[in-house]
């Protein structure tokens, strides 16, 4: 919706004699929105499946529908990109609400692929031993039953599974698809809530350690709601400043090319304080989602408590979506404010890189370790965001693509290492894993090396691109801090490798479960992408460079 559209709803309704004829029929480009629409449609089908399909068949129906929808949506993204919507035909669709351009399509493609890989790990049912003759996945038998209660036992005995996770996953993905392509603040907020709410729920659904899982979900929900409130407040302030929620209009007001003051907002329009405070608050909401310090506190607790497949998906896809939205906000809406927000973002990036790396050193739980690692990586990506150049955009796009596969793969490996209590996430139990399961340990080592940014892995190519863009954008000190934090971070990644390969295995150590082809595909894809992007990154760097221009 454009500013005039919003405005006219209020004014014309009061004055016009025939309001019906004055409201124009919205023009929706269904083809260009098809990726999102397919996923949303499939999610609704999933809800219907929950309602009408017999319990025994639901799992298969849900997995089938979800997989088909994600593949179809990805195909739609590829078709749009091939049709030139990423470059020459990029434009703003759906009455100004959605931008269809290079970054949108690139990030949507990344999110859909992460979603597909995430789906594989969601659908895994061979890791836990069968209970009462039923295969079980990572999710609670019946989410509504109180942990440890009789009803829970009954649900387990009946072989229930929470197949609702699949439509929830699809809803979250749909929200994430909209998030980086939202072109006005209201769409941004709606997308934020659409992908956040399913994630809050998913976090609470762990089959084992349910109390921890529920605690994580509550924390995530409370803090997420808190952050959303800031975002919403920021949106209100920006509307007060510009008289519009449209990105383009706000940008024009910021750079001074729109000067006609709306009489209803005469007291606030053009007030820079509103702009600065509002902008900062929206940015803060996005920084919460990417897990930047000091808005990161939820990350370790939630990553640890959530079911590991959810953690993997969330760590990858949320970051992609949120950074996409942040990029668009800073590059499209607030480029005129660059000299105000850059120093602040510098500080945030430095604190995030160093803080994430340093606190990770003393972690003893592999999931918390990866959580802090993701915080440090958020800092590295921020360095690219701050470059405020085309290279900055494309390097961040590349980094996000590379990072999401490493992350999902790494968390998928975590689901394999198990003992009697489920996943064995305490680091001490990973000692000597390389002796007992050399393949799994080697694969995990590849992911850790990619996190550390060792050459010949995607992590190196990504980090190099981001730091290069930052250095060329005049942020050399940031690069220095980034390299130092990388060195600190390398310590704890390598330490895990040393632990796996050079320590004596513990007698009560965990066993490595043999997964179904689903998890194997997720891990295999992760390794393949990590190595291909590491050894021959140029094609994908070019792709990201092509996609690096926002439509305004």
């Amino acid at each position: 919706m454009s500013a005039s559209a919003v405005h006219s709803l209020w004014t014309t309704a009061a004055t016009a004699a025939d309001p019906i004829s004055k409201i124009p029929a919205p023009k929706i480009e269904y083809g260009q929105l098809s990726p999102t629409l397919i996923v949303v449609g499939a999610a609704i089908v999933g809800v219907l499946i929950e309602a009408f399909v017999p319990r025994k068949s639901r799992y298969y129906a849900q997995v089938f529908v979800s997989a088909v929808a994600l593949v179809a949506a990805f195909a739609a993204v590829v078709a749009l990109a091939a049709g030139g919507y990423g470059t020459t035909k990029a434009h703003i669709a759906a009455m100004g609400a959605i931008a269809v351009d290079g970054p949108s399509l690139f990030l949507q493609g990344t999110i859909l692929l992460s979603g597909l890989v995430g789906l594989f790990t969601f659908a895994e049912r061979r890791l836990d031993p069968e209970t009462h003759g039923n295969r079980v996945d990572s999710f609670a038998a019946q989410a509504a039953s109180v942990p440890g209660s009789d009803s829970e036992k009954a649900a387990v005995k009946a072989g229930f599974t929470t197949t609702e996770v699949f439509p929830l996953l699809l809803f979250a993905i749909a929200g994430m698809l909209v998030f980086p392509s939202a072109n006005d603040l209201l769409t941004l907020f709606v997308a934020l809530e659409v992908f956040s709410l399913p994630l809050y729920l998913l976090c609470a659904l762990a089959r084992r350690k349910r109390l921890m899982s529920q605690e994580a979900a509550v924390k995530y929900f409370l803090l997420g709601a808190f952050a959303s409130a800031f975002t919403l407040f920021g949106i209100a302030l920006l509307y007060g400043y510009a008289g519009s929620v449209s990105y383009a209009t706000i940008a024009h007001v910021v750079d001074g090319s729109v000067t006609n003051v709306d009489p209803a907002l005469a007291n606030t329009m053009g007030n820079d304080a509103l702009l600065l405070v509002g902008g900062a608050m929206i940015v803060m909401g996005l920084l919460f989602k990417v897990g930047a310090i000091p808005f990161h506190m939820w990350t370790p607790d939630v990553y640890q408590g959530a079911p590991t497949p959810v953690t993997g998906f969330m760590a990858a896809a949320t970051k992609v979506a949120a950074f996409g939205a942040l990029l668009r906000l800073l590059y499209v809406v607030l480029p005129g404010l660059r000299w105000d927000w850059r120093p602040v973002m510098w500080a945030v990036a430095i604190v995030t890189m160093l803080g994430g790396a340093i606190v990770a050193i003393t972690q003893t739980d592999i999931k918390r370790l990866l959580a802090y690692s993701s915080i440090a990586h958020a800092g590295f990506i921020l360095a690219g965001v701050i470059a405020t150049s085309k290279d900055g955009v494309s390097s961040v796009l590349f980094y996000l693509g590379a990072y999401s596969f490493v992350t999902i793969g790494a968390f998928a490996v975590v689901t394999l290492v198990r003992d009697a209590g489920g996943e064995a996430t305490h680091l001490s139990k990973w000692a000597g894993l390389g002796r007992r399961s050399p393949l799994v340990a080697a694969v995990f080592a590849v992911f850790l090396l990619a996190f550390a940014g060792i050459p010949l892995t995607s992590g190196f190519a990504g980090k190099f691109a981001v730091f290069k863009a930052a250095a060329e954008g005049g942020a050399a000190p940031l690069v220095v801090v980034g390299v130092i934090s990388s060195a600190v971070a390398a310590f704890f990644y390598i330490r895990v490798i040393v632990l796996m390969f050079f320590s004596e295995p513990r007698p009560d150590g965990p066993t490595v479960a043999v997964p179904s082809p689903l998890t194997m595909a997720a891990i295999g894809l992760g390794v393949a992408v990590t190595l291909v992007l590491g050894v021959a990154p140029q094609y994908f760097l070019d792709l990201a460079a092509q996609a690096g221009v926002f439509v305004r």
Binding site: L276, G279, A280, M297, I361
Partner: protein, 648 residues
């Protein structure tokens, strides 16, 4: 014709590859494969030589470009061979003498189980040496240079079960590394100075370059030559290298390895000609070494070590000649060739004596052997006469020319260098006569005593064949060993005369090395007369000491100089005190600094980061309310900072 050049290198290289990779099934025929391929290389060399003789002097340079090796912008290196008169001379020497040594080894190594490998290494040695002399640029030469170093390491340490052999091999390798460093630095300097390291462009650009840079390059080349040719101060490996089988010693001393340094200096003549200071350094090194080696040779009772000292001294003559510039280049090479004949003959003769004496090497336990091994006696004797410069034999011609050239340098330097060369001739006559007398004349001191300590006897496997502790039964060696000795003796006798009459060798090499007559203060006849006098004095003293008096079978204490010479004039003690101790102290202090300062800083940083991590971790207390406060605080700071930025 030029297409044949690569085959010169390829034949022995193929032999090395086949023998080293072929496995045990080649054990029975390995020695013949190696010998035939070395011989094949010699035949190709002869064919090329005949072809070259048929051409005018100006058209004798053959170039064979094989492929571009390193094409990196201005850093261009080609695998290109260059066959001119100088390299032709070396090719014939290397393949000819090398083939004879191969043939000899067939007999000498008959009882060694690892014979196949031995011949593989010998072929590798030949291939590397041929690559060295055929390369058309310094980088390719360096490949051959390193290959020679590797092959010598493998061969000196061939009896690796003997700790002394393993140590000697390591010592040779390490000392050579010092020289190799010189060559690599010289190549780098060339590249930065000339932008290339191919022979042609480098030599043609010499005229446009400052003398300082050329002197630096020359000194680095000299360092390289000192390493390979065992010149002072890098001479210490040569004596220990006698731990290798005797044919290896012959190969190292006569045809390959030690000649490489002389080749390098003569080949780089254009550079040295333009850098007089470097040239002076070369002559000094040569003069010092020729006396050093000769003095060491006088005191050794081990026949091979006495010969090793002699080699050092003779190479000193060559280096001295090469340092004299165009006056001396031709004679350096001529002496190198004649030396190749007689020194190979002497070593093979020494090997033959050892073969017949249960591998005894102590000359004090020889004596009167002329009756028992006449062929060896005669060939060794001819080699002896050649090396001391007996008139008419090859050493006479070549050494005499060098002494003349040294005087011809002129001035005080000329007198000093010429005097040193004359003195060296006298000492040479002394120690070689001593070797001759102690081995083939006098009492039969080997009677009634078991030879060699058991430890030493187990060293050469041939000993097992003869029985270890029995009294030796001196006997002549088989034909396969004596024939090469005879051929080499013929070369030792006639080589010098053949080269010198009508200045054949001079005309042959002159187009490559250039030649100038110096202004000798002494006439040629005077020099020859002086040399003869020195020769007679040396032989006379030796005869008085070892021919007239019985030789004690236990070495007497001797004078201070004798004792020092027995210890190789304290070269190892010097190296130990200065280099080993010094190095140890340096390492220890560096380790100390590393442990305290560097580790302290590193560990301190790590510890403080870890401590920081522990404290920051406490902020993560698990309460959602604390998290919300942190977020609120963060948001407040974010907003405030943004506003502040605008205010500033």
């Amino acid at each position: 014709m030029e297409n044949l050049i690569a085959l010169l290198v390829a034949a022995p290289l193929l032999g090395a590859a086949v023998l080293l990779c072929g496995g045990r099934r080649l054990d029975a025929v390995g020695q013949w494969i190696g010998t035939v391929l070395a011989g094949a290389s010699f035949v190709i060399g002869v064919v090329l030589f005949a072809d070259m003789l048929g051409k005018d002097a100006e058209h004798r340079i053959l170039i064979q470009h094989l492929w571009t090796w390193i094409p990196v912008e201005s850093f261009q290196a080609d695998v290109t061979f260059r066959l001119d008169q100088l390299s032709m001379t070396f090719v014939l020497l290397i393949t000819g003498v090398g083939s004879l040594i191969h043939l000899y080894s067939v007999g000498y190594m008959e009882h060694d189980e690892r014979r196949r490998r031995f011949f593989g290494y010998l072929n590798l040695f030949l291939a590397a040496m041929l690559l060295l002399v055929l390369a058309d640029n310094y980088l390719l030469l360096y490949v051959g240079w390193e290959g020679v170093g590797l092959a010598s390491y493998l061969l000196i340490g061939f009896w690796q079960h003997k700790p002394s052999a393993a140590t000697a091999a390591k010592k040779a390798f390490l000392v050579n590394r010092v020289g190799d460093m010189g060559l690599s630095i010289a190549i780098m300097l060339m590249f930065t100075t000339f932008g290339t390291f191919a022979f042609g462009p480098v030599f043609s650009h010499v005229g446009e370059t400052g003398e300082g840079k050329l002197t630096a390059i020359g000194l680095m080349l000299l360092l390289a030559a000192c390493g390979k040719s065992a010149q002072v101060p890098l001479q210490s490996w040569l004596g220990d290298a006698m731990e290798g089988p005797t044919p290896v010693s012959a190969l190292i001393h006569a045809a390959t390895m030690v000649t490489a340094g002389v080749y390098l200096i003569v080949r780089s003549g254009a550079i040295f000609n333009a850098a007089p200071d470097a040239q002076l350094a070369v002559t000094v090194v040569g003069a010092v070494t020729l006396l050093f080696g000769a003095i060491v040779g006088c005191a050794k009772d081990d026949i091979k070590k006495a010969l090793a000292g002699s080699t050092m001294s003779q190479i000193g003559y060559m280096v001295l000649a090469a340092g004299l510039g165009p006056i001396g280049y031709v004679f350096a090479i001529m002496h190198l060739v004649t030396h190749g004949f007689f020194k190979a003959g002497l070593f093979l003769g020494a090997g033959s004596v050892m073969h017949g004496m249960n591998d005894e090497v102590d000359m004090r336990k020889y004596g009167g052997l002329r009756k028992y091994m006449p062929v060896t006696f005669i060939t060794f004797g001819l080699g002896y006469l050649a090396i001391i410069g007996f008139p008419g034999l090859s050493g006479f011609f070549s050494k005499d020319k060098i002494i003349e050239a040294a005087f011809a340098k002129g001035g005080t330097e000329g007198w000093i260098l010429g005097g040193a060369a004359l003195l060296g001739a006298a000492i040479t006559a002394f120690y070689m006569t001593r070797v001759m007398l102690m081995t083939f004349f006098g009492e039969e001191r080997w009677r009634n005593q078991p030879t060699r300590s058991p430890e030493a006897a187990s060293a050469e496997p041939a000993a097992e064949h003869h029985g270890e502790h029995a009294e030796p039964h001196p006997h002549e060696s088989p034909k396969v060993m004596t024939i090469p000795m005879i051929v080499l003796a013929v070369g030792s006798v006639f080589g010098g005369a053949f080269f010198s009459i009508g200045d054949r060798f001079l005309h042959w090499l002159e187009p490559i090395t250039g030649h100038s007559e110096g202004n000798s203060p002494l006439s040629a006849a005077t020099v020859t007369g002086g040399t003869m006098v020195c020769l007679l004095i040396g032989v006379g003293i030796a005869y008085a000491m070892y021919g007239r008096r019985p030789v004690p079978s236990v070495a007497p204490r001797g004078s201070l100089l004798t004792r020092a010479a027995r210890r190789d004039l304290l070269q190892d003690d010097f190296n130990h005190v200065v280099l080993v101790r010094g190095g140890e102290h340096l390492t220890r202090s560096l380790v100390y600094v590393d442990h305290t300062l560097v580790d302290g800083v590193v560990n301190g940083t790590a510890a403080s980061v870890g401590g920081l991590s522990g404290r920051m971790r406490k902020l993560q207390n698990g309460f959602a309310r604390s998290y919300a406060v942190s977020m609120f605080g963060g948001a407040a700071i974010l907003v405030a900072a943004t506003l502040l930025m605008r205010a500033v």
